[in-house]
């Protein structure tokens, strides 16, 4: 069934406001999506009715909070089609999920001379943890090059693979350009040389069907707040056998089986990786975000977003001075661009003056910007609640801004 945009927009209170005297157009969805009413209500309900520390409480509230908390784990398992609930670990974001793997898997399995492969498209959060690990271990970081269009050079990737490759950490969808990477093939090739693969799903999980069993990735990292859920909550999926082979991440409560001053034994997965009181309220509310996505249907969401992408691409491409950045064949609903001789910050500010929220700058992908010879871009990213009339406003505003330098 096609999506009813008005109905959807009514679920998002934040969209119904004016910014700088104009109705808000929110096109910064790749940074964070807005939250539907049911997610906000779940947060309030938790604190009003259920607030309690989970897992070991001997009372009704604790039991209720624990049940809701674990229900989200189960909802996420189904959402990404993981084999077991225990393979879902809660973190504070994609960044922490990646750091967890780099720290624990890295500590145990990466040694001097080993090679780790990432791509030119990576977000800083999928670069720096691996650089830190390589520095500590004397391992080597290899980078997959990309084309001018922003697509990964698969042949170059195959050539980088060898028996020295121990890990491949790759972004599923580029946050800066929207490129969808051929990750299934990348994972398959990496596995052939015995390397483990982490998929940075921060941008893909909101737009694409992500099935971890079908992809066969060893890890998947993503964030709730880019999926209509609360901030401060991330997910790390890992295959059971890999997670079990890894040492714990942080020490503390929850992650232990038994503690004595002589020796501590660790809890089973997922709790081994969840030290301390977790982000209970946000985990519970996140289930409502997943429900929201599932009720609409990933396929229907994608169709709507693709339509917006092609409508916006056509409209913007007709503007003199508009320079698209990243023109991969397979893309999600993200348009990165520049306007002739104008700095992205200036463009962003002028769009903001028109009530249009976009992101400007290097998008935490400085090596990618360097590769493209750019200081930054303007990025408009569309979500399920965006409309064609909002895109008309973007096109009109960009057109007006472009005229400043094309007088």
């Amino acid at each position: 069934m096609p999506i009813n945009i008005e109905e959807i927009r009514n679920l998002f209170p934040v969209l119904h406001q004016e910014v700088n005297g104009k109705p808000l157009v929110y096109f910064d969805n790749a940074a964070t999506t807005q939250k539907p009413k049911q997610v906000l209500d779940a947060l309030v309900q938790y604190y009003e009715l259920d607030n309690s520390n989970i897992h070991r409480g001997a009372h009704t509230l604790a039991d209720r909070a624990t049940r809701y908390y674990e229900n989200t784990r189960s909802a996420i398992q189904k959402f990404i089609n993981a084999k077991e609930e225990e393979e879902i670990i809660f973190t504070k974001g994609t960044t922490e999920s990646i750091n967890l793997v780099a720290s624990t898997f890295g500590r145990k399995f990466i040694s001097k001379g080993d090679e780790i492969i990432i791509s030119t498209l990576e977000h800083h959060s999928n670069i720096v943890p691996w650089q830190m690990l390589c520095e500590e271990k004397g391992a080597i970081l290899k980078i997959i090059p990309i084309s001018e269009e922003g697509e990964i050079d698969l042949e170059a990737f195959e050539n980088l693979l060898s028996e020295k490759t121990k890990f491949v950490s790759i972004v599923h969808v580029s946050n800066a350009l929207g490129t969808i990477n051929p990750v299934k093939q990348i994972i398959k090739s990496a596995h052939k040389v015995g390397a483990r693969v982490l998929l940075d799903g921060a941008q893909s999980t909101s737009h694409l069907e992500v099935d971890v069993q079908d992809l066969d990735c060893d890890f998947l990292a993503f964030s709730a707040h880019k999926l209509y859920g609360p901030t401060g909550l991330g997910i790390l999926y890992g295959k059971r056998e890999v997670l079990e082979s890894m040492p714990p991440y942080q020490g503390g409560g929850e992650m232990i089986k038994e503690v004595s001053f002589e020796k501590t034994t660790y809890n089973e997965i997922p709790f081994k990786f969840e030290a301390g009181t977790p982000n209970i309220a946000d985990v519970i509310a996140f289930a409502k975000a997943i429900e929201f996505i599932q009720q609409l249907g990933k396929k229907e969401i994608k169709e709507h977003e693709d339509e917006l992408l092609s409508y916006a691409t056509d409209g913007l491409n007709s503007i003199k001075g508009f320079i698209p950045v990243g023109t991969a064949k397979e893309k999600v609903s993200v348009i990165s661009f520049n306007i002739n001789e104008m700095h992205p910050f200036d463009v962003g500010m002028m769009l903001d003056a028109n009530g249009i929220a976009v992101r400007t700058g290097h998008h935490c992908t400085q090596p990618l910007m360097h590769r493209l010879g750019l200081e930054g871009t303007v990025r408009a990213s569309f979500s399920v609640y965006n409309t064609k009339s909002e895109i008309d406003r973007l096109v009109a505003a960009v057109s007006k801004i472009a005229k400043i330098k094309n007088k």
Binding site: M342, H343, F345, M349, A353, G361, I404
Partner: protein, 143 residues
Amino acid sequence: MSNIQDIQNEIIEEFEILGDDKESTIFYIMELGNNLPDFPENDRIDDNIIKGCQSKVWLTAKMENEKIHFFADSNTDITKGLISLLIRVLSERSPKEIIDAELKFIDKIGMGNIIGSQRSNGLASMIKQMKLYALAYQAKQNA
């Protein structure tokens, strides 16, 4: 030459005419940037970049007849406009005048709301750098 307060009042009046429309205000700030004199290519070096600004701002100063002359450039038009306002107020003044200057016009025209918090921090860094130049020249004068 008018005193610092007069020039600030002039700027406040100019912005009052623009009213509340953010877009026209930004266009106006960008236009102001076009009035900046050409910045010498040789001075476009990292040492002259002001720390704390998100966009690149180059600033140099020289002393002539006991007055400090500022020269600046930026890679963004809005920032160029902002620094041109500061130059209009603070350039060709004695070190003491610059050090003592209270830049009331920034709050009066609601610059924080126009340019946002990140750019406001950048603007504060520009003012700080201009005052540091003034302090350095004053120290030289007193030496």
